[in-house]
């Protein structure tokens, strides 16, 4: 019914089967090692080099502007002109359209 021979693109069925197999093996290892693990009853605050952890949970969440902050900061020479280019003025939209039209026409004429 289902052709699971590796043919044209790739076979997700085999991928999933292998994935299930690997997780079964991993679970087996887990079951073998689990009795040896010693549990303690102590559950304390996380220790972060002497600072008290924040009590308000909302401060723990990183906002959208801060994710990948360093990455965008490092690329600012490339990103800032790009953002500046998106002016939001309708004349500019038409401007890019007309310029692309002219360039494509010249390109097609030369070729």
């Amino acid at each position: 019914m289902i052709d699971i021979v590796l043919q044209d693109i790739w076979s997700p069925i085999i991928f999933i089967l292998v994935g299930i197999l690997v997780s079964l093996i991993a679970y087996m290892f887990y079951l073998m090692g689990n009795p040896d693990y010693k549990r303690t009853k102590y559950k304390g605050d996380p220790f972060i080099s002497g600072n008290r952890p924040p009590t308000d949970l909302k401060e723990l969440h990183v906002g959208g502007d801060n994710v990948y902050w360093g990455f965008t900061r490092a690329l600012r020479k490339y990103l800032d002109p790009l953002v500046e280019g998106h002016t939001g003025i309708v004349n500019d939209y038409v401007y890019w359209f007309v310029v692309t039209l002219a360039v494509v026409l010249v390109f097609l004429y030369i070729m």
Binding site: E84, T87, D92, Y95, V98, V99, L101, A102, V103, L105
Partner: protein
């Protein structure tokens, strides 16, 4: 700078268009002298045989290119629906501040 590039682009496009209209319909034909008229001659002859209509433009509109006319009526219908949608009564809602775009850039030059 932008203005200069835009003007150059306009000039390029107009040059292409002028070249196009100059070359239209080969060298012998120009304005008022179409060469390829097979389709329209067929319409002119067939409109009376097939549709029993004297006005050939109406025959083309409603029979040979009837789907275009349906589309055109649909355009008008959608424009009316759009106008009714945009100009309908509305309440000022809290949605005005849905994003930070609203408060960070309140128009004007950057």
């Amino acid at each position: 700078m932008k203005k200069i590039i835009a003007l150059i682009a306009l000039i390029v496009i107009s040059a292409f268009m002028l070249g196009g209209v100059a070359e239209m319909r080969g060298d012998d034909g120009s304005f008022g002298n179409p060469v390829e008229t097979e389709m329209d001659d067929f319409f002119l002859e067939d409109s009376q045989d097939h549709n029993q209509v004297n006005n050939v433009v109406t025959a083309v509109l409603f029979d040979y290119r009837g789907l275009d006319t349906l589309g055109e009526a649909t355009v008008l219908f959608s424009a009316v629906s759009g106008v009714l949608t945009v100009l309908r009564k509305y309440k000022l809602s809290k949605k005005e501040n849905l994003t930070k775009l609203t408060k960070s850039s309140k128009g004007g030059k950057k």
